[in-house]
Every structure is written in structure tokens, then in C-alpha cells.
Amino acid sequence: MNWLSRPVSDIQITHGSRLWLYIVSGLIMMFLVVPTLIVIPMSFSDSQYLEFPPRVWSVRWYDNYFGSPEWMTATWVSVRAALLTVVVTTPVATLAAYGLSVSNLKASRWIFILLITPMMVPVILIAIGIFFAYAKLNLNNSMFGLVLAHSVLALPMCLIVISAGLKSYDMNQELVARSLGASRVKAFLVITLPQIRFSVISGALLAFVVSFDEVIVALFITGGEISTITRSMFLALRDQIDPTIASISTVLIMVTTLALVLTQVFGQSDSP
């Protein structure tokens, strides 16, 4: 039988009649991905300027990136900020998700919405707010301030992922563990946490990505020594168009994609 006239599943629709859908979906996916991927060949160009397609291939811009103390400092700032954001956000989000899941407060729904507002408010507003707040608190241009701000931005995603993991977890297990002699903390650590660990890891990876990719807040509240890689790239783009940016972007895409792939891998194995 021809593939086009074969039914899609148990229903009467054939692949042939779905063909337009496949094409549209394919185009949408290309539109989403191609602009991101186009920097990869551009980064291997020998030219002084950004060009596509490159006429001569070279890795000189990677040498330029890895050989530049400024770029390396900025990268190191980003990595440190992202890791510290993970360290701050993951326990907070886990505790919040747990608390909201076991609480029978009517207000818990509203608390949840309050905790995910950073995801819904335009980041520029958050950035302006944080900038003025930090000006008073003297936290601008500090790693502590940056991590705190990134944690605010990362909390919603992290909370949603861990809450979803807890939803399929049977809280009676913790009651049983406590009746069998485990204190509440012990019951959480020995019984609950191992079973939601993949959601927690996914949440942590997402927190890493949120911080690592963030540029707007960083533009407002950091500078000088504490400039993240994304912030430096943004400023570099304004001053000069240099293929170093393309090579850095390629590295960032690799890191982010890896984190997201890991999130998917871990997120799936939590379901019983």
C-alpha cells in the first residue's frame, strides 16, 4: 500500500490528506530553528565581517574568543552566575512546590500565581524595578545581586516543573513513612525526594539556562568586572560586527541545547 493512502492511526485520515499539515509544520519548525543555526556556519568564516555563506572556512574566530581575556572573564561570570542561580533557585523552588502541594490553604493557588509572575511580567519592567531597588540596596554591579535577580527569573520555570513532578507523586507515601518512624524531614529526603529527583534536576537545568541566556536584567544591573557573556555580546554587537560573536553564539547554543536535551531526558523518567 502507498504511504500516502495509508491511515494515520486508527482513524480514517490518510497520510495523503494530512500532507499539507506536515508541510506547514515543517515550515514552522524551520522558521523557528534556522535563524538560530545560521550562526554556526557563519562562525567558521575567515572573513573580517559576518557573512553567509562563508567563502573561506577557518576557526580563527574561535581562537579569538578563547584567546581573549575579556571574553573569558565574561564567560566565567556567566557560568558562575548560572551555577549560583541553580544553587539558590532549586531548593527554594522545591520547597515552594512541596509546600503548595501539601497545603490545603485556599490561598495556595494565589501564592502559586504570585511566584510565577516573573514569567508573565515583561522582563524590561523587572529589570528597571530591580535596578532601582538595587540602587537603594547598593547591590548593582555585584555577583550577589545578579544571582538574586536571575533566581527571581528562574523560579517560575523551576517551580512549574517540580510542581508537575509532585502532582503524579502519591503523598500518602510520606504519611506511611512517618507512621513507620521517619520524621517529616527524613520522610521527605528518603521517600519523596528520590521519587521527584528527575523533576528537580530538570528544574535545576532550566534555572541554569534561564540565567545563562539572560541579557536584559544583566544590562541594567551589571557592568565592568561583573559583565555576563550575553551582556558583553550585546555591547560588542553595537560597536563592531565581528564573527567572534558568531563563534560565541555557537558555543552558547551548544551549552543551552545540551541543558534542554538533558531536561527532556530527565523529565521523562519521573513518571511512574
Partner: protein
């Protein structure tokens, strides 16, 4: 043999907003007794169990295990075994890991744990399944693992919250008998929650009927069934039709007929309890042991092991009568529209006081 403890529950009150989940409950549970908390959903039976387990803190009242007041003791220090409705086994541990969990918490030596887990496994007839994963077990096996885990550390009190409700009927009937046997073997004080009246009657030493947060009656299954203390108990346990009776000159009268009654006649207004299986069809009025109610058959329904005849009495009251499907009774079945004499032996003629405790409080 585990040394059992009695449980003393005194004046326990728990309110949620304006709802009385537990309304001044007093209950004495004897050492080694199998007591069932029976009631409809939302009656407060599970709340009472959670109070015993320590997960729900009552507003006031006292709960003592033996001489020890436990109202402020957290769950993990109560030494109470607990079995939940959905088993709540730990899926990230093996069967042996689950059963050994309470022992590891208590710092028992490794060899000792192994030995006691094996012993618990054989107590619930799961020998050799210690290495299985939880998702490899059937429903009945999971039930047994949950039970083994709750008794392996030799608690003096065992609490069970509808542990059999997830099983199919055949397995449930089997497990009821098995739980009963296990209870006799261990002699552990057991508090069992169910909404299934048949299960309560089958398994318990005593049944405590709870409704609207109040303890209505606590008696042996026979007493609960034969002499319900209120219309609620009469209707909740078994089927029954309640017909209000009048009094005249110290006698109890129904439709102009003086009733021969078993047991004491309660004060105040009361009703006659007619249970379908207690009624028989009489050939005539000659047997003096029976109260006789003439009526007309409306319908006869065959239900397999038994049949039910629906009849209307002269007063207009609808009653039903149940008989077993046996050759002789089936042959004597009345047909629709026929007049019959329904007889109730005087020893089974029981009056129920019309109490007001059924009103929601």
C-alpha cells in the same frame, strides 16, 4: 506475640470551619481488639483514624495508648503500624526494602533486618518475593507487602484505612478472612476503617458506627445488626423498613394490632424494624410466636441466590421480604396481586427509638 495496648479516646473534638468532623467522641478500644469504624463518606471515621495516627491534631480531647497520652506525640514517635487504601508502597525500593524500612529507621542490625523481613514475608504468605520490584506485584500482593511493612516492627497498634477497597470482590472476601486470621495470630489492637457494612460485620470484634462526627453505637456485629440503637444504624447496616408504632395501655400497637416484642421497649416515640430476611410468608394466623402483617404482593424479583417480594401492607406501608432460592421456598412463592400473611417472629420484633442524633449538628 506482640504485646497489645488499649486505646482510650475521650471527648475528642475536631472542627473544620463550622463543620464538626469529630463531635465529642468517646471510645474505649480494648487491648487486642479488632474494632471497625463504620460510617458513610464524610462521617468522620477517617478523621478519627488520622487522630490516632497523629496526622490530625484534634481541637480538644484526649487520646491515650495504654497509660501514655499521645495527643502531642508526632506520628513517627507513636509506634503505630498503618496501612493505607492505595497501599502507598515505595516504588523506588524492592519488596524487602519496603518491609525493612521501619527497621532501618530504628537502627536494627543488618542480619536482624534480613531475618525479620523474611519472617514478615512468610507471615503474609509472600515467601521468596523479597527481591521483587513493586511494579511487578499484583494488587493482592501489594496489599500483603503494605501489611507486612506495617507489622514488621511489632507495633502495639495497627491502623487500617479501607485497605481492601481497591481489590476485586473475590480477593476482598478472601483477604477479609486472612486479615482476621492474622489478627488472631498477632493479637495486635487493630482499628479498621471502612464504609462497607458487610466487611465491618465480617471482620470485627466490635463495630463503631459514626455519622456526622458522632459515635452513634459501638457494639458487637450481632448486637449492631439485631438491635440498632437508632434509625440511622438500622438503615445503614443491612436493609430495613421502619414503621412508626403507637402506644396504648403499656402495649405497642401497629395498625390496631398489639405487637409481641423482644427486648425492652424504649421510651418516647419508636418504630418497628422490618428486615427483609426476617419476614416469612405464613399459611395462617395460628402460630402464636409470630406477629402477622397482612398485605398484597406487588412484585417478585429473582436475584440469583435469593428472591425479593415487595408487598404493601393494609396501612399502605411498602415492605420487602427476602427468601433464599431453594426448591421449597421458590415453590411457595406468591404471585403478583395475591394477598399474603407476612410473619415476624416475636424474638426478631425489635423497636428502634426515634432519636434525634441523626440530624446534622
Amino acid at each position: 506475640m506482640i504485646k497489645a495496648l488499649p486505646i482510650h479516646i475521650q471527648q475528642v473534638v475536631k472542627t473544620y470551619g463550622r463543620i464538626h468532623a469529630l463531635d465529642h467522641v468517646d471510645l474505649e478500644i480494648k487491648s487486642g481488639e479488632f474494632l471497625t469504624l463504620l460510617g458513610p463518606s464524610g462521617s468522620g471515621k477517617t478523621t478519627l483514624l488520622m487522630v490516632l495516627a497523629g496526622f490530625t491534631r484534634p481541637d480538644s480531647g484526649s487520646v491515650r495508648f495504654g497509660d501514655r497520652e499521645v495527643i502531642r506525640t508526632p506520628p513517627h514517635k507513636r509506634d503505630v503500624g498503618m496501612v493505607f487504601q492505595n497501599y502507598a508502597l515505595f516504588p523506588h525500593m524492592t519488596v524487602a526494602g519496603n518491609i525493612g524500612f521501619p527497621l532501618r529507621l530504628r537502627g536494627v542490625q543488618k542480619d536482624d533486618i534480613h531475618q525479620r523481613v523474611e519472617h514478615a514475608l512468610s507471615t503474609v504468605q509472600l515467601d521468596g518475593l523479597g527481591d521483587r520490584r513493586i511494579d511487578q506485584l499484583s494488587g493482592g500482593q501489594k496489599q500483603r507487602v503494605a501489611l507486612a511493612r506495617a507489622i514488621v516492627f511489632e507495633p502495639r497498634i495497627l491502623l487500617m484505612d479501607e485497605p481492601l477497597s481497591a481489590l476485586d470482590k473475590k480477593l476482598r472476601d478472601h483477604m477479609q478472612i486472612e486479615l482476621r486470621r492474622l489478627h488472631e495470630k498477632l493479637g495486635i489492637t487493630t482499628v479498621y476503617v471502612t464504609h462497607d457494612q458487610r466487611e465491618a460485620l465480617t471482620m470485627s470484634d466490635r463495630v463503631a458506627v459514626i455519622n456526622h462526627g458522632r459515635l452513634i453505637q459501638c457494639d458487637s456485629p450481632r448486637t449492631i445488626y439485631d438491635y440498632p440503637a437508632s434509625p440511622f444504624v438500622a438503615n445503614f447496616i443491612g436493609e430495613s423498613t421502619l414503621i412508626p408504632v403507637k402506644r396504648s395501655n403499656g402495649n405497642v400497637v401497629l395498625d390496631g394490632q398489639v405487637l409481641k416484642v423482644s427486648g425492652a421497649v424504649p421510651d418516647g416515640r419508636c418504630s418497628l424494624m422490618l428486615r427483609p430476611e426476617r419476614l416469612t410468608i405464613l399459611p395462617d394466623r395460628r402460630n402464636p410466636d409470630y406477629n402477622v402483617f397482612p398485605g398484597v404482593v406487588e412484585e417478585v424479583v429473582f436475584q440469583g441466590e435469593s428472591f425479593v417480594a415487595y408487598a404493601v401492607l393494609e396501612s399502605g406501608t411498602h415492605v420487602s421480604m427476602r427468601g433464599i432460592s431453594q426448591r421449597e421456598t421458590v415453590a411457595s412463592l406468591p404471585s403478583r396481586g395475591k394477598a399474603v400473611l407476612l410473619g415476624l417472629h416475636w424474638e426478631e420484633t425489635v423497636l428502634i427509638p426515634e432519636a434525634n442524633e441523626d440530624a446534622p449538628g
